[in-house]
């Protein structure tokens, strides 16, 4: 029944102007389950939009995915299992939070790497400059003579 109703809704939506994201009839009766569904929706990408989560998107496909997430939750899946299920179906592209693996290691480690590298360069520069300031090169006799001339001594 729920399936049929959602199908009718999708057909209606297709013919109409864009509706908004989460529809009243999608919301699950159990608030805890619904909260989980909302959190999961925020991590999933709407495949036909530009960088929108299915929670924000008003595309019919996003609605299908939202209903799918809720169906899986009702069937008793854990959050991770739902994400796994969707990744298997749609690939890693569906995850807005890219999982850590070989192809994303550079992405995830980059901020830390930049911070550490920047900090290291900074420490190195400061240390080198402190040496310079602590032990300035003494004037050559020639420079000392010029200085004395300038000072009128």
């Amino acid at each position: 029944m729920k399936r049929l109703r959602s199908l009718v809704m999708v057909l209606l939506l297709l013919g109409m102007a864009p509706a908004f994201a989460v529809q009243p009839d999608e919301i699950l009766a159990d608030p805890a389950l619904e909260a989980r569904a909302r959190n999961l929706s925020r991590e999933l990408r709407c495949m036909v939009c530009q960088n929108q989560s299915i929670d924000d998107s008003d595309a019919p496909l996003a609605r299908d995915l939202r209903l799918l997430v809720r169906d899986r939750l009702l069937a008793g899946d854990s959050d991770d299992k739902v994400l796994d299920f969707l990744t298997q179906r749609y690939g890693a592209f569906v995850l807005l939070n890219p999982p850590f693996n070989w192809s994303t290691a550079l992405l995830w480690l980059a901020p830390l790497a930049v911070l550490v590298a920047g900090g290291a360069v900074l420490l190195f520069t400061l240390r080198r400059r402190r040496f310079v300031s602590a032990d300035p090169t003494p004037l050559t006799p020639d420079e000392q003579r010029q200085l004395n001339d300038l000072a009128g001594r």
Binding site: M16, A17, P18, A19, F20, A21, V22, Q23, P24, D25, I27, R42, E43, R45, Q50, N51, Q52, S53, D56, G91, A92, F93, V94, L95, L96, N97, P98, S103, T104, L106, L107, W108, A110, P111, V114, L115, G118, G119, L122, L126, R129, R130, V132, S133
Partner: protein, 659 residues
Amino acid sequence: MIPEIGHYALVLALGLAMIQAVVPLWGARLRDDTLMGTAGPTAFAQLAFAAIAFAALTACYVYSDFSVANVFENSHSAKPLIYKITGVWGNHEGSMLLWVLILALFGALVAYFGDNLPATLKANVLAVQSWIAAAFYIFILGTSNPFLRLAEAPFEGRDLNPILQDIGLAIHPPMLYLGYVGFSISFSFAIAALIEGRIDAAWARWVRPWTLAAWMCLTAGISMGSYWAYYELGWGGWWFWDPVENASLMPWIAGTALLHSAVVMEKRNALKIWTILLAILAFSLSLIGTFLVRSGVLTSVHTFATDPTRGVFILAILTFFIGGGLALYAWRAPVLKQGGLFAPLSREGALVLNNLFLTTACATVFIGTLYPLALEALTGDKISVGAPFFNLTFGPLMVPLLLAVPFGPLLAWKRGDLLGVAQRLTAAWMCGLITVAVTFAITRGGPILAPFAIGLAVYVMVGALTDIFERAGLLRVPFPTAIRRAGGLPRSAWGTAFAHFGLGATLLGIVCESNWNTERIVTLKPNETVSLRSYELTFDGMTTRQGPNYRELTAKFTVRSGGTVVDVMEPSKRNFASRGTSTTEAALLTRGFSQIYLSLGDPAADGALAIRLYHKPLVLLIWLGTVLMVFGGALSLSDRRLRVGAPKPAKKSALQPAE
């Protein structure tokens, strides 16, 4: 005729830009005053012709001249006049024309105000500025000409995308471009300094105010775009970590870093080489932002590949200016003399720390935005990098930075006393800790990290005021004396305080909105009531109305609090027949700094209506904070040391308007 005049003016502007790009540079090499002197007049003339071109396109829009392809594709005769005008930059070609107009404007401003600059520096700066201008004129004329005619003029235009027909989006792009393009001044100055192989006092005096002005415009532009998204897109989101937003955030972060390092350079003559690099990076990121938005590469690497003319052209501009700038830097920067020395614990040190974290944050956004594109291009794997990634990486990077913010202005130059400053910040961290405790007590069982973030925001806000309070001697001297002293403080000190206070306020708004936002998604029939926090909203009914170029469905809701009527909210949906699209116009009810947000879904056949209703606590602080930041920037810009400037010859200053 008008489009042809515009087209011709644009070609002339290109010609002038080419002269300005070569002759002053040559003159600076030969130390020839006549050749260097051409820079000023050509800059003014270039502005005049760019303005004529822009005015011509605007005229085509105002008169709805649909024989011009650009007007036909983006305008409609029934559109209100204001959106006919703003529609000029609501499309690719027009917005690029605005881009070069602003570029020419900045060039002319440098020529006008630059009398106190050393002649060779001024000539070099204006020449570099003109290289950029020439590249973009060629880009417009070659790939994005807004003046192309259609063989047969259609009777009616296709109209502007309805969600762009809004006052917020009318002002957002020009502000953003003023910021993007404003950084071209810092860039030109940096390149000129590298060409000359020296940086003097005039350089530092000049770069900071221009960077500040550009930064203010960029801040306002981003903030306005965010508020527009908030009220127009219908679900109350204000930041999505969308690549287009990231494209504007990156130059903003780099610009913020530049602003702070330029202070060190101006006051202490240190960090010169780093400041030059930041100036190059800030504008490079502006160019990258333009490339990302304008080339279509964001939608997919494949859209880019199907129509690559524009993208490849911008990519070439990008490579030339960024690659050239960085190569010149690598070659010439070692020639520049390093300036003043300082201990790690000093105001200089604090500003270096600020730069380290801002640069890392900027790199994070950069990598997060471009990684999916690079990965797809290299391996064909498609991944998404969205809000969760940025929240996880950008957020933690901001925490140490925010903790350090109040320390900066309190530390002494050259050698500071960290413990002493921590003591002087007692009020700030005490307020912060109390806020954490109180927030925990009120929101028991709520989000764990949020109270700490609130405490951090309060700490930043109180910390920002500490400097002013201390220097005014509040609580130590009689109150009127303190007020008088506060009034006598340099405006730059006030500017810093306002900007940092604004940062805290924005953080407070962000944390409250994202953690304690209440949402109701329900279907209502007329005369039914929905409750939200302490408010009750009754759905009174719907009416339809005909607007100038749309039909509008308006629902009326009465808002009650404790039985008494507070206000009426009228959200609506607009249907634009010309494009067959519709927009949601959310209704906002402001209570203090919080807002009730109401947007409409679709009406069902039985008269029921789906609505989304939010209570967003302290949400307005997000944007008010940025207003304070801009205001702080303006105060700092009006500081005496910038207003007075270097001494000028008396006879010249008599001809200039009073400042």
